[in-house]
């Protein structure tokens, strides 16, 4: 502070007050008790609490409501603390990215790495099948499209075979349990890029990330090609939204550029249309019929340019486009569905003039069709009905994807299925409200709206084994969470109202609760015990190559090696009523008619759990069936432990 004082009656004098520097100890105290330090303490403390509570979790307590019934109050409290700490950190006037990142990484570990820490062997029977594909490639150095559909899209398994062998492992089972954590960490980068390309408001970006991880209950991120390829989908879309957005030109300028209407001129301008970086902005009509004005208003809104553009030199853009196509080249032969989603999304953006070059989706579609035509004919020849048979049968598709899931199974499973529908509708509902809020303020969120809805019509094309809706949810999720986050933050403010903070914290805690039920709701049948896997290993040790391996119900952790050497049969997939009614004679006839020199029967804990949870068939029924089959005297017990029994069928000579 400066004040002017007189040394003489007439002349002014100057005196300065010097502000005292705080002492070193005071500075240290301020740093320790700063909001950022307290936030770090909360996050790390919650993680430590969660680690401390883990040993007290007993997986035998898992019920039909899933893993949440085995979690202790301390574990759940730790999750709640870190979520609330994140929400509080989000309200700081100046956001600290390292602080928020620390929260997110720890939260991802706690939510997605919990099963890898708790369970002795990887969960999901499908992971073991994927281990078998990878082992086949490692052993033979080749793929066989006649063996399984996945060998027509073998990219992910070729990569995993290469990585596994290079790392010195013999099987992916050594590390596959960590796939959900690793994949979700991978998703972080492109998600941040995408959200940053849609808004510069950091609170929306970071809240969007939190909402993504709290609503990603789909669980497609296990060791699978679809979980892996979702990362590439995110990267491709992020690159397009960051560097390849179009800018607008006024309509009258575009008209003069178009010139006369001769066919030569039109052909010349088609080339320009495919490559140009500019879209034609429609000017709103102020006169004319109301319908015409309404249509032009919608077009004016739809052709408005995106507000965030990252300029890049032409050479850099060319290099980025090349890299994008290299990534897409890997995607087209890694998974059958992901390239379709990529093409549809990119096509929607290109048709609506949001990105350039407009020839990009054409090239992508040609690449995808090229692989399908030249490399998947073996699969398509025998499975054309599976690919196109459900096309247009919306009622059947909805039944397989939704109705059957919410009406079949144990009471606990039905609750979980309904919770999943509720979670989906909650997120989509929040997204719709957020989108409206942004519309009212004046944002033109064309690109994220397109990406949120473009792939939804694919529901009428294929049921994809009852999983099409799940995949659509996953691929629209980044854009849904963007709008859902916008529900809480629309205008930039330094200080967020306390009511908003409280509402946000409550919503996040509700979503966290929903996540724990919906993501791990099938855990009773999904998780595998070490004893079960030991039984499967004993089966493979005993059974000569060429044997028939039979299970009463699905979800056995088998096929992890020698994939092509054994014939696999699941009685419940062929004659489910015989299993449900414990019809020993029908099952015995089924086993007898496998006509292999050697036939083996395996019973596991997860078969019982799967039958009970997913089909409502009690464990007592399967046990009765097992006892009845053994009582026929035609099965010799060759291995048994608490969770698995292996029998050899003694075929009558």
């Amino acid at each position: 502070m400066e004040e002017i004082s007189d040394m003489s009656p007439s002349a002014p004098t100057l005196s300065l007050e010097v502000e005292e520097k705080p002492s070193r100890s005071m500075r240290v105290l301020r740093a320790i008790f700063s909001p950022e330090a307290l936030s770090v303490l909360l996050a790390v403390g919650a993680f430590a609490l969660w680690l401390y509570a883990l040993p007290s979790i007993n997986l035998n307590n898992i019920s039909d409501l899933g893993l949440v019934t085995a979690l202790t109050p301390l574990t759940i409290s730790a999750l709640a603390i870190i979520v609330v700490s994140y929400v509080i950190a989000l309200q700081r006037p100046q956001l600290r990215a390292p602080l928020l990142l620390l929260h997110l990484v720890l939260l991802i570990f706690m939510l997605y790495g919990v099963t890898a820490v708790l369970e002795a062997v990887p969960r999901f029977s499908t992971v073991y099948r994927h281990a078998g594909f990878t082992e086949y490639i490692m052993r033979t150095g080749s793929v066989d499209p006649n063996l399984d559909a996945y060998f027509s899209w073998p990219g992910f398994f070729i990569l995993s075979a290469f990585v596994t062998q290079s790392a010195g492992y013999h099987t992916i089972l050594s590390y596959a349990a960590w796939a959900p954590f690793a994949f979700n960490i991978l998703y972080l980068g492109p998600l941040f890029m995408t959200l940053s390309s849609l808004t510069r408001y950091k609170r929306i970006i970071w809240l969007g990330l939190l909402l993504f991880y709290l609503t990603n209950w789909i669980a497609q991120d296990y060791f699978s090609p679809q979980g892996f390829d979702f990362f590439f989908y995110l990267v491709i879309i992020a690159m397009l939204l960051k560097w390849f957005k179009t800018t607008a030109v006024p309509m009258y300028a575009a008209q003069t550029q178009a010139g006369a209407g001769s066919w030569r001129t039109r052909l010349a301008h088609m080339g320009d249309f495919l490559t140009r970086k500019q879209i034609t902005a429609v000017e709103p009509a102020t006169q004319g019929r109301s319908l015409n004005r309404a249509v032009r208003s919608i077009l004016y809104w739809a052709t408005a340019p995106d507000t965030l553009v990252t300029p890049a030199p032409a050479r850099q853009r060319a290099a980025l486009l090349t890299i994008l196509l290299v990534m897409f080249a890997f995607v087209i032969y890694s998974h059958p569905l992901t390239p379709v989603f990529v093409c549809v999304s990119v096509l929607a953006l290109a048709i609506c003039g949001r990105i350039y070059p407009r020839w990009l989706p054409i090239v992508m579609v040609l690449m995808m069709l090229g692989w399908i035509y030249f490399m998947t004919r073996a699969f398509l020849a025998g499975h054309m009905y599976m690919v196109v048979g459900s096309f247009g049968h919306l009622f059947n598709i909805v039944s397989v994807n939704v109705t059957n899931r919410v009406s079949q199974g144990s009471p606990g499973h039905i609750v979980i299925a309904n919770l999943r529908v509720a979670m989906t509708l909650t997120l989509w509902g929040m997204a719709v409200l957020g989108a409206f809020r942004r519309l009212r303020v004046g944002f033109h969120d064309i690109s994220p709206m397109l990406l949120a809805v473009a792939i939804m019509p694919l529901i009428v094309t294929q049921d994809y084994g009852g999983e099409m809706l799940l995949r659509i949810y996953l691929f629209t999720q980044p854009f849904m969470v963007f709008f859902a986050a916008s529900l809480f933050y629309v205008k930039v403010t330094r200080k967020v109202p306390y009511l908003t903070i409280a509402a946000l914290a409550l919503v996040c805690l509700v979503l966290l609760s929903g996540f724990l039920f919906t993501r791990y709701g099938n855990e009773r049948m999904d998780y595998k015990t070490a004893a079960e896997f030991a039984g499967v290993q004993a089966l493979y040790h005993a059974a000569p190559r060429g044997s028939a391996l039979v299970a009463l119900w699905s979800d056995t952790p088998w096929q992890y090696k020698d994939y092509e050497q054994y014939d696999i049969y699941v009685v419940g997939n062929q004659i489910p009523d015989a299993v449900a009614n414990a019809d020993v004679n029908a099952v015995l006839t089924y086993v007898r008619t496998r006509y292999h020199t050697h036939t083996y029967l395996i019973f596991t804990r997860s078969q019982n759990a799967s039958a009970e949870v997913a089909a409502g068939i009690s464990a007592a029924t399967l046990n009765t069936l097992e006892t009845g089959l053994v009582a026929t005297g035609q099965f010799k017990l060759i291995y048994a432990n608490a969770d698995a029994q292996v029998y050899e069928y003694m075929r009558a000579s």
């Binding site: 992910f156 990569l159 980068g189 990267v235 507000t307 300029p311 890299i323 930039v492």
Partner: protein, 129 residues
């Protein structure tokens, strides 16, 4: 300091990780750290060795695209060898080592200064920063 770090940090990390993975793969294949070193190398090095020549602004963008490109290159190279009926993972990883080492050295020689800062242009509606 910023220029020094830009020129030397990533290339040093690439060289270090590549050499460590090389050692774990060919010289001490039974070492316990082999999986961690080899996976870290395969997931990061080949892509970052090439991506930095694009001179992207943000480090997290560089890292994200570097990892994606690494995974794609690993997969495509392995696929080429598989369909050529030459399933030799040691040769494939050898090629990736070469790409990473050459890329790291080229970065030291060619990428001496950080890229110039480019302003993200926008015409924001009211309320959006």
């Amino acid at each position: 300091m910023h220029t020094f770090l830009y020129r030397w940090l990533w290339p040093a990390l690439l060289l270090l990780l590549s050499l460590a993975a090389l050692w774990a793969t060919f010289i001490m294949p039974d070492t316990l750290v082999r999986p961690a070193l080899v996976m870290a190398f395969l997931f990061i090095c080949p892509g970052i060795a090439l991506m930095r020549f694009l001179r992207l602004q943000e480090w997290y963008v560089e890292l994200t695209l570097g990892v994606a490109l690494s995974l794609a290159l690993d997969g495509i190279l392995a696929t080429i060898f598989l369909y050529a009926h030459i399933w030799w993972p040691s040769v494939i990883i050898g090629i990736l080592f070469a790409v990473s080492l050459v890329g790291a050295c080229a970065q030291i020689l060619l990428l001496r200064t950080p890229p110039t800062v480019v302003v993200v242009t926008e015409s924001a509606p009211a309320g959006e920063v």
